[in-house]
Amino acid sequence: MLNGILFGLKKFFSEIGSGDMVILFSSLILSVTAISGVGFLSDRFQRSIQQQASIVLGAEMVFRSGAPIEDRYIQTAELKEIKTAETTSFLTMALTDEGNILSSIKAVSSTYPLVGNLQVISQGQSSINLDFKQPAASTVWVEEKILEALNTKPGELITLGNKSFKITGTLIDFPDRSTGFLSFSPTIIVNEADLDEMGVIQAGSRVVYRQLYSGESSELESFLEEVEGDLNEVRVQKVSDIEGQLGNSVNESSQFANLAALFTILITLVSSMIAARRYAKRHLLNTTLMKVFGASKKFILWSQISQLAMLILMATLIGCTLGYSVQALLESILSPIINRELPPPTAKPLLLGFLTACCIVIAACGPYLRVLGLVEPIQLLRKDDTQGSKSEASIYLFSFLIFSLFLLFLFNDLSLVASILFALLGLVILLAGIGYLLIFSTKLSSVFGGYGWLMGLRNLSKRASENLLQVIVFGVSLTFLIVLAETRSDLVNTWRSSLDQDTPNYFFFNIQDYQLNDVKSFFDNEMEATPQFTPLIRGRLIGASSADGTLLDVGGMMQRESNLTWFNELPENNSITEGSWWADEDADGSFISVDTQAAKSMGLSIGDQLEFNVAGENFTVEVKNLREIKWESFSPNFFFVLSPAIASELPQSYITSLKVDNNSEAVDIFIERFPTITSVDLEAALDQIRVVLDTASTAVQYIFLLSLLAGVLTLIASIFSTVEERNKENAVMKAMGAKQRDILQIALAEFGALGLVASITSLFVAIGFSAYVSIQIFETSYTPNATIIGSGLITGFVLILLTGMFVVYRALSVPAVKTLRS
């Protein structure tokens, strides 16, 4: 064994320069780069979550509610020497003379934050101060985005609700950044003592109240045990919950990125298999000769294994180094939506890179190693063509099994792996079908440029299986690149343009009862609009049971803050799918109407009972009907609509939406007049969504670029595998009088046609896929983007043509006489 290993290692460096080893080596490097690039970034996210979980909470435990939380919990905790703090968060408009912006307000107590630091640059200073706890009364710290949007600076005044504040610092970072409805707006930190004067929080306002706790974990546990029984609507969040929640979302994102990297791995597996076949063919002589000279099977096996192990180690090292650069690139692309420094990665991605390289080598080279092991020394004397006897079908089957096992390891989800494999199979069949038709059509097309073109097109169909493989390989990469490019910005644009001209573009909420008449007359007089005002009730679903009293599991909706409303009549853009709307005889009944999709996900049916808590009061309602909502109407729509008898007396505010002319100053005037009412500009929200979509899809596109590179490698491997055959053909043609120019023309025709076939095939599939995504999933119209389609066509064509010509041109440099002699 040792002799075999030493022999293999000694020969490794003379082997590494051979064409097949270069391709195998490059394929491994590329796949390790792709998987480790994604792996490093995911790993850094995971570590960041572990490190930041307590900072995400701003404490070690948090009580959270949509209604004020009783002080007695704080008092109980302080008796146990647990540190406490309180925050109150909500959205409102921030105003200056220069304009207004929707902002997330966080009112904090004097001990906030308990974990992590508030990072503030004080007025007139340039360095970040980490010691601040709470702004002084009547002063605020605001994020840079607000300063930019309102063209203001520290030292100047800003109005929140009914109160003006002096900006005394720029907020750089803070713990417990909001998620959900508050997360899109920049933050302002205020002193909790100013809340009343602001006058923004009214009945029905959407507010998040938090009590923060920090201390010894045993004390925290004992405190929780003591108060847990009567927490009612208060939700408890612990560091471990945050790790789990964030970890899940990072896992899902990582799996999506892994899926993108998977295409690179799959394509490099193809190039590796082509290279491995050539490697094995070349080594059959070597191996047979070694057997003749007395090498045992074990010696040969270990010498091959040591060479491949060396290849794996080197590819892992180089691939992971490149992968680290790829993740740095992805990190910089994603920086607009990451918003924080990520810690350095662990060694896990190195292991993943190593396992990927092992998997490819085993899948691609394993069957051929067996062929080498089985070769008989007598073949040399019989002058047999030392070919492997193993059938190609069993080799492909083995590779497929190893690849499937790798997928299982990567995703740890059998049904997901099965779906991936079926989807891949479908895609391959589709690409192969269209590709085959196009290749076949070149055979029938009339020849316009003489002998060179004729031969080139003949070559395309003569090597149909190799060329079809190229069409599939390039097709997969190009298809996804085109689909991603098409769906990212265009999706938002198309959706926006598909909306009615009169579709509302502004939402106004937090309108109180006492403001209703003034707001109506403002809209009527200043904006010539008479929108409908919809009651908004903040409540929490706390129980569900069937008509016979059996408790129901309604999943994630339970214990979550929900928006409720009530109507006498079925609202516009809603239609009953099951049950009936409440009639006059139901006037005193406690009923609820539920959105059909929500009911389906919660497993609800007509007659079920739902228990809600609103402002500390519990009540039960019966599901009277299910409704289908036309969400794209952009009117205020609700999952839950209560019947008037139960809802009309509950604490509530109002919400409305209307179309405002973009150039109108009416909204600014409205916000100045009603500073406690919150307005949301949908155009701005859509722009934010577009930034997130653009950023994320650009990052994924970069991962797919690696798969395009893998496609180039496969093309090189494929041409390389036919290089002797091409050399012989060229030498014979030269001997018969063909010029170098004629031979180049043949290659030009062959690879030009292949480039066109591959690009057109990808375009067909990409257009179909994009249309499906737009029409079926996002329910918008679809018009192919000519620029993206054109770029895809040109990229595919040029890439294949240039790669093909480069490899063939190098092969042509071998003198014909040398080829004929050999």
Partner: protein, 223 residues
């Protein structure tokens, strides 16, 4: 009288072909003493190469036995036969079979490296010197002429000082001048090192200079 190095007893080799069972070698018995130069002559398809492969332990007969260096090799498994070949048997092929990416020196070193010899380089340089190629050690096969390639192949076969050297039509791919050189080299090796030499050939000139000639006709030894 020298000791027998190779004893072939009633060896028959049958193979299955689309036309039915074919007898390639039919009941052959022969014996070679240490240090002899033996030629096996015969037309194409007469079973020469198959007989050579069986004598060298590269193939197994359908019946009969082969005793090489006092070991009954027909009853050994492939690894045991490989062990014998690694130490005591050398091979030269008609089409040289040099590894194209390796230099002449590396090609000659290969059998020693399989054995794990520490002085492989020195011994390979010496072997190349003995075949007159001390100035071509760094050349790869495509930089060498046909005769030079075959001399590298002979150096490779002799580098481990085998007891017996099998050559399968060693001059079959060479011009007359190279053929003469190779023949002289093989004879010199046989005389100087007392290595037993078994050559399969069509070349009457080569056969004429050997100590023993076996002629095969349709798988049988011609008496």
């Amino acid at each position: 009288m020298n000791k027998a190095i190779l004893e072939v007893s009633n060896v028959t080799k049958k193979v299955t072909s689309p036309e039915g069972e074919l007898t390639i070698v039919n009941d052959i018995s022969l014996s070679l003493e240490e240090g002899v130069f033996a030629s096996i002559l015969g037309p194409s398809g007469s079973g020469k190469t198959t007989l050579l492969a069986i004598m060298a332990g590269l193939d197994l007969p359908s019946s009969g036995s082969v005793k090489l260096l006092d070991k009954e090799i027909t009853s050994l498994n492939e690894d045991k036969r490989a062990q014998i070949r690694s130490k005591d048997v050398g091979f030269v092929f008609q089409s040289f079979h040099l590894l194209p990416r390796l230099s002449a020196l590396d090609n000659v070193m290969m059998p020693l490296e399989i054995l794990g010899a520490k002085d492989a380089k020195q011994r390979a340089l010496k072997a190349l010197d003995e075949v007159g190629l001390s100035k071509r050690t760094g050349h790869v096969p495509h930089q060498l002429s046909g005769g030079e390639k075959q001399r590298v192949a002979i150096a490779r076969a002799m580098v481990k000082a085998p007891s017996i050297l099998f050559a399968d039509e060693p001059t079959g791919n060479l011009d007359q001048s190279s053929t003469d050189n190779i023949l002289e080299l093989l004879l010199r090796i046989n005389q100087q090192t007392k290595t037993t030499l078994v050559v399969v050939t069509h070349d009457q000139q080569l056969a004429a200079r050997s100590d023993m000639v076996f002629e095969l006709q349709e798988g049988k030894l011609k008496c």
